[in-house]
């Protein structure tokens, strides 16, 4: 296999289910949508039909602020399919301002231990993966 055909391997794309389609419709419009339980006020990720804290099916969608902090990460030197041009690349877990944590990538900065400090402030942007836009995060530039 030539290098050029390898580089054409696409990054994995999500396949929505009925319970997650609203989330993926939101990302297509540049919005990160979360769910809040109407019974116990728990905010949770990933999308699902009932609250993982109190089991209530009375849950509502809202648009998150898109602000987050870097909770933890690793830097993979092995390239998953589609990531040959990125390796080594960070896979991160961020803690959203609203509380839930989610997995993501960090963009807008070289993915090195020196650049990626735990608890640094981040904001959501969106990257296209096939037909879907996935939320990724970039450092918040602090005005000096």
């Amino acid at each position: 296999m030539s290098i050029s055909s390898e580089s054409k391997t696409a990054k994995p794309s999500p396949k929505p289910t009925p319970e997650t389609s609203h989330y993926w419709e939101g990302t297509a419009h540049g919005e990160l949508c979360l769910q809040r339980c109407s019974s116990c006020a728990n905010v949770f990720f990933y999308p699902r039909a009932s609250c993982p804290r109190c089991s209530s099916f009375d849950v509502e969608w809202f648009v998150a602020s898109g602000r987050a902090r870097l909770h933890t990460y690793l830097i993979s030197h092995y390239a998953a399919p589609g990531f040959a041009d990125d390796a080594p690349y960070a896979i991160a877990v961020v803690e959203l301002e609203e509380g839930p944590r989610m997995m993501t990538n960090i963009v807008g900065v070289a993915n090195t231990p020196e650049n990626l400090e735990l608890d640094m402030e981040l904001e959501v942007v969106f990257e296209q993966r096939g037909d879907f836009a996935v939320p990724v995060f970039r450092p918040v530039v602090v005005a000096s």
């Binding site: 396949k15 933890t72 990460y73 690793l74 092995y78």
Partner: protein, 248 residues
């Protein structure tokens, strides 16, 4: 949790060849390790009425070996599946559900012969919310919590590196271990990163087969120990207890 009835692991074995074995399917690895473990215990396939396995379905392993099991355990939670199989088997033996459980693992991890595909379902939670970020397999998943753990506990990179150093020291006395040469903390820290903060030398590999025999009353316990005396080098391990803790 402590399982009070006595349970004994009376046989254990690995496949004849380990490492890179390109001419053998994962299922045959299960089967060969199982036959050798039964030989180690001085028992035969016809003594077995329970099968536990992960990676491949236990019914596939049972059918391959010619076992018609009355007890099956397909608990599949990654590398610790087989420890849970031991725990479940000990409970099942104590409850009288089964007499002899065969627990097998066989992984064509490098050659991928007859091995389940690694690519997951893109509509699963992992497929939707992890895979798009380049998560594939243990190296991109297991180390995820480490940096946060190091921040919260003060664990250093040197202390982390001391774990594979200790493992290598123990492996030195195991003839079939893949890596047996002494290793230093500096060598671990100088090896390339696989998944920061973990270096190349922070890795594990296992291939194990074993079986349990029930001994929950005195006659059965005597039988179990008779088994142990009958064979030359039984594993002779007792399942004293087990535990699970969630740390995410």
């Amino acid at each position: 949790m402590t399982i009070r009835a006595e349970t004994v692991i009376v046989g254990a074995a690995e496949t004849t060849r380990i490492g890179i074995v390109p001419d053998m399917s994962a299922l045959e690895m299960h089967a060969e390790a199982a036959v050798l473990a039964l030989a180690d215990a001085g028992l035969s396939i016809s003594d077995v009425d329970g099968v536990a396995s992960a990676g491949l379905l236990p019914i596939a392993v049972a059918d391959r070996l010619g076992i018609s099991p009355t007890y099956l355990d397909g608990t599949s939670v990654g590398g610790c599946s087989f420890l849970l199989h031991v725990r479940h088997a000990a409970a099942a033996l104590a409850a009288g559900l089964v007499n002899v459980v065969l627990i097998t693992h066989g992984e064509s991890g490098r050659s991928r012969i007859g091995a389940p595909p690694r690519i997951g379902d893109p509509s699963s939670p992992q497929g939707q919310f992890e895979s798009p970020y380049g998560v594939i397999g243990p190296a991109t998943g297991f180390p995820m919590g480490l940096l946060r753990y190091m921040r919260e506990t003060g664990l250093t990179h040197e202390e982390l590196a001391s774990i594979p150093v200790a493992q290598r020291r123990w492996a030195a006395d195991v003839p079939r271990a893949m890596f047996r040469d002494p290793l230093t903390i500096d060598e671990v820290l100088a090896s390339r990163f696989v998944s920061y903060p973990l270096h190349q030398f922070a890795r594990v590999s296992t291939l194990v087969g074993c079986r349990l025999r029930r001994g929950s009353d005195s006659s059965r316990r005597r039988e179990a120990f008779d088994d142990l005396r009958r064979v030359r080098s039984p594993a002779n391990l007792r399942a004293r207890g087990s535990g699970l803790r969630r740390t995410w």
